[in-house]
Symmetry: C2
Subunit: 281 residues, 2 copies
């Protein structure tokens, strides 16, 4: 495994690489969800590149950029264990030098849900991902379904800007209690961690109701909201049933849909989602 | 010479190409300036690709998108004569399909000069150029110095977003009377065309004054403005002496500078510029 900490180092390593490149961009503090992406990249490509970069431009001024958990030594050991070929781990100054001024934005789909609660977040995400794509030149890039809107925004960016790669979205990896793996789970205390299991229960409820023929999105949202509200530590930001492609709210589930939510437990903000498949018959 | 009119056609032609790719993006209605770029691309690369696309997103609502001169047959014949390998000539719908929503922007340097008089112009330029770079994947891309700010903005975008190509800026090509070649010169009537020669006279005056040791930018601007104002058909938008890299106005020419201007002759808006080299001794 090789470690590149500058862009020119990364590009020069790439020049020597042969065959298809699978790329997993991460903010580090790796968990089972990341490792699943790395394993899929390993299975599908000749070269596997993972980036570790806590991207300052996707955090709001009041968000957890400084507190975001970091443990590069542990990350590198885990990536070595997955036969990663190259880890790209740049500094903030390397990615955003003085007088940095260029941005990639996706309109409309970034205004809602996460974009509504985290203004500017997706501008930071699309910009850093566009930069990483240019630096790594992957054939395939792997993202987790847990950040469903992020993956959707990136697919839209890749399509609109004619980028030369395939975006692969892999299923969310969950603990035994259903909680989606997230680097931010480390913020939760024992009580909050227990309380947070209500998220997957609410999403599972949505799938059950829809599976039983319920197509009224408002009704499902209400049932989810009611379930989460029984948990005193949970503070809902949004519960959404939306078109799986545009992420616009649905009144009736008459096409592929995604149930997604953002809920705070103490200082920790968690997001999760499930796909609601169209029902037949 | 091959003609590609869809993005997938263009990308598939590229897949078969061997060696370095030189790319000249144009809006068509080619003149000697464009052909100089094509010749330089031909001399420096194994494959030469030229795009012809009148990009709607870089024209303001009151600008000349519809009137912009077009003559694809003549253009193709000229490019055939220069041994161009591939011409990429997409439709607007191919480049901006329904629900298109992604943009590349460069801040700050795009607010001044052309950006000040043509709000949104550079957002359209950087977006279409980023798309074309992804579609053509050139090693070198060629731009004319006549659009000095455009070339500077594109260099900044390429640097900030870590794009994998070199931006080459080639000297402005002029008529015998000094008028910079531009597709928009076709709009000028005989009187206006004669009047427009004042632009290069003013730029030459700036070079002379600076060459004779004048470093007071305000003084040079005043002399240029005064000369152009003697031409009754000329309506000045701006006359600028600026830092050659940031394009910020200079009071004293104590670093590489560019003298640039935008002047209207009737309905026709012309721009031009010259570099003011630092004086020694």
């Amino acid at each position: 495994m090789k470690l590149a900490s500058t862009i020119s180092e990364m590009k020069s390593l790439l020049g020597k690489s042969l065959g298809s490149v699978g790329f997993v961009p991460t903010m580090g503090y790796l968990h089972g969800g990341h490792l699943t992406l790395v394993r899929q990249a390993r299975a599908e490509n000749e070269v596997v590149i993972v980036s570790i970069f806590v991207n300052p431009t996707q955090f709001g001024p009041k968000e957890d950029f400084k507190a975001y958990p970091r443990d590069p030594e542990r990350d590198l050991a885990m990536l070595e264990g997955e036969e990663t070929d190259v880890v790209f781990m740049p500094s903030s100054e390397e990615m955003y030098p003085q007088n940095y001024n260029s941005w990639v934005t996706v309109d409309k789909i970034t205004d809602i849900l996460e974009g509504n609660y985290r203004p500017g977040h997706f501008k930071g995400v699309t910009t850093v991902v566009a930069k990483l794509f240019n630096i790594v030149e992957p054939n395939k890039a792997y993202f987790g379904q847990k950040d469903y809107q992020q993956a959707t925004v990136i697919k839209k960016m890749v399509s609109d800007l004619n980028m030369n790669l395939e975006v692969v979205v892999a299923p969310t990896v969950r603990g035994k209690d259903g909680l989606a793996m997230s680097s931010r789970n480390v913020y939760l205390n024992t009580q909050e961690r227990q309380a947070a299991t209500v998220l997957f229960k609410a999403l599972t409820l949505a799938q059950q109701l829809h599976g039983n023929g319920q197509n009224n999105a408002g009704h499902i949202r209400q049932e989810m909201t009611s379930l989460i509200s029984k948990e005193p530590l949970a503070k809902i930001e949004y519960v959404s049933i939306a078109d799986a492609e545009t992420l616009e709210d649905l009144a009736t589930i008459d096409r592929p849909a995604v149930a997604s939510l953002a809920v705070r437990f103490g200082k920790t903000r968690l997001i999760d989602n499930v796909i609601l498949e169209p029902t037949h018959g």
